[in-house]
Amino acid sequence: MDFLVNWLLSTPAFAVPFALAALGIIVTEKAGVLNLGAEGFMLVGAVAGVGAMLAGVGPFLALACSALAGVGLGIVFALMVAGLRINHVIAGLILVFGAHGLTSFVATVNGWTNQSISGLEPIVLGQDALVFLTPLLVLGTIFTLEKTRFGLSLRAVGENPGAADAAGFDPTTYRYAAILIGGALLGLAGGYLTVAVTRIWVDGVVGGRGWIAVALVIFARWYPWRALLGAVLFGCIEALIPRVAATGVEVPRYFLQMTPYLATLAVMIWSAARGRSGWAQPQALGTHYVREDRT
């Protein structure tokens, strides 16, 4: 019983980074920009959160810094993808590896590595404020995407940029906006990871969670509420690892650490095997739009 209660109570903290990251990826990809740079955005947000905390600001301001850092990296990504029309896969990979170098460099130069921080305090049931804010953010995103003019045009740009352009919505502007909003959410996800969960910075602290979030979005077929469910599922799996280790059951430690990645692979195979893999994918995902190239 104790095991179950502890497990369930520690799940949300692990689920929130996945949920926020998946949300950020969905917003970006709904505008047709393939976001493989999620891991990079999360790293930048994570280091910014730790840096702000160590500079002595409160946890909420630190999280705001994380989101801002995500926006900053978003500007770079938007310039590469929406501006200079670099291949989305290449640009995403550059972003991830560049962010690895950048965050490690910044943390080393400022001496932020391995410094523990106080972190976000729980308010109810051992859960912090962001746990309660995340479902609201999901609802807000669903509302914006489904019910507002901005959301409609953003989705139009992701489905058929030519048609959106003819209707008077500049695809490039919308892609910039989507990348910056997505960057803010991804930065927040990374910031939550360090400010609320690990409470420490080490190089590569995100540990592939950005990639898991990318897979989660495919699994959720670009629906925000399904992404939230998927995030809770992965939060459960991640929360299980320290719980199982604490019970003293003899499971090889490194095999236990593999489970999130194995689960992600299983989920990807499952969603592909169900067929119609391109069903909910924004039709223009990963393509460039140049008005002058219309035929």
Binding site: L36, M80, L84, R85, I86, N87, V89, I90, A91, L93, I94, F97, G98, H100, G101, L102, S104, F105, T108, V109, D203, G207, G208, W211, I212, V214, A215, I218, P252, R253, Y254, F255, Q257, M258, Y261, L262, T264, L265, M268, I269, A272, A273, S277, G278, V290, R291, E292, D293
Partner: protein
């Protein structure tokens, strides 16, 4: 009356007082270049490399290394002695083979982001042969290489099959398998394969018959000639043979290739498995040729370096060899800056990213001509 319509459209929309007229807002207009000569291609490409170099020098200068010091450092690392030059060549071999592994897959439109996983699994398979003394000593090394190539192929077979059968995105699957391979490696190094003497998390040293033997000049081993031969073989396959031509057709237009009767599936499977095999060999070259054992971080950084080298070398084996040398210089200079100027090594990684951004961005200026025009 077309003339009147023309007049109408040209008339100012709002005829404000003359003093209040703002200059028109400028918007970018992209014009696709109809013809780009080879000369323009080469000069823009070189221009982007020069630009990236200047930016890097500038960044390094802001952290307290004057360009003159940097030049002296590069000279010392590369040309100061035969020994220094040999060190650069020794580092070139693993970079070149990592770049080749990546380039093979990229040539066939398969984004192999799982080089580190293939290196780890290849090296694990080679270490099984070495640690359990499989086969007579005479053929131990070829057996290790074979095991490494098989291991790399096994590790890429899953993502390859998923991509070809179910259309699963290979970027994510190959990348996730890196984490899984790394955990398998840690399981072995902190368990059964831990060094029995020092208790450090690495295997015991391989025996002499299980290491690539020295060439006899400086500290170079047979790794360099092996990688050289592999480069030439791949150059022949891609630039001379029929298979290379068919892969080019496949890359430019898979649908048309299929319609023309090119064996698309067979070629894809071949290229994917070859990429995995070379990835496994990369792990073998490093563990048997450089470290002489399995360590827990022998693969670090090769994934991105491989992508960078393949990208800068345009997936061409000879280009890969050239940029592998360039990367070796960059990394060794980075290490020396870390020692003598306390510059974190992560800066080297940033500079790598800078190079790939500049070269990727130069494509844009080759494809389009940018005008600024007043908004209508």
């Amino acid at each position: 009356m077309p003339d009147a319509a023309f007049q109408l459209s040209r008339a100012p929309v709002v005829a404000g007082p003359p003093g209040r007229r703002r200059p028109p807002r400028l918007v970018p207009v992209l014009e696709r270049r109809q013809k780009v000569s080879d000369w323009e291609r080469v000069s823009v490409y070189i221009g982007s490399l020069v630009f990236a170099t200047l930016l890097s020098v500038l960044i390094i200068a802001t952290f307290g290394v004057a360009p003159a010091d940097l030049a002296r450092e590069i000279g010392a690392v590369v040309f100061s002695s035969p020994r220094a030059f040999a060190s650069v060549l020794a580092q070139t071999a693993p970079f070149a083979i990592a770049g080749l592994a990546t380039a093979i897959a990229f040539r066939a439109r398969f984004w192999n982001i799982g080089l580190e996983g293939q290196m780890i699994f290849g090296a694990i398979c080679a270490s099984v042969v070495a640690l359990y003394d499989v086969g007579p000593e005479m053929v131990r090394l070829p057996l290790m290489a074979l095991a490494a190539a098989t291991g790399g192929m096994l590790w890429i077979a899953g993502p390859g099959a998923l991509k070809l059968r179910l259309g699963v995105n290979e970027v994510i699957t190959t990348l996730l398998l890196n984490y899984i391979a790394f955990n398998v490696l840690l399981h072995l190094l902190y368990g059964a394969w831990q060094d029995p003497v020092s208790r450090f998390p690495h295997t015991e040293l391989f025996e002499d018959a299980e290491k690539l033997s020295p060439l006899g000049w400086q500290n170079l081993t047979w790794a360099l000639p092996i990688v050289g031969v592999l480069t030439l073989v791949l150059w022949w396959i891609f630039s001379v043979s029929r298979v290379g031509y068919l892969i080019d057709v496949l890359r430019s237009n898979p649908q048309m290739a299929f319609a023309m009767g090119v064996p698309v599936t067979a070629l894809s499977i071949g290229a994917i498995l070859a990429s995995g095999a070379v990835g496994g060999l990369t792990g073998f070259v490093i563990s048997a040729g450089i470290e002489g054992r399995m360590t827990q971080d022998f693969f670090t950084g090769y994934l991105f370096s491989g992508i960078l080298i393949a990208f800068l070398g345009r997936n061409h084996p000879l280009g890969v060899a050239f940029f592998a040398f360039f990367m070796a210089v960059l990394v060794l200079v980075g290490q020396s800056l870390q020692i003598f100027f306390q510059i974190p090594f992560a800066l080297t990684q940033l500079i790598q990213a800078l190079f790939i951004v500049c070269v990727a961005a130069s494509e844009f200026f080759l494809t389009y001509r940018l005008h600024w025009r007043g908004a209508v």
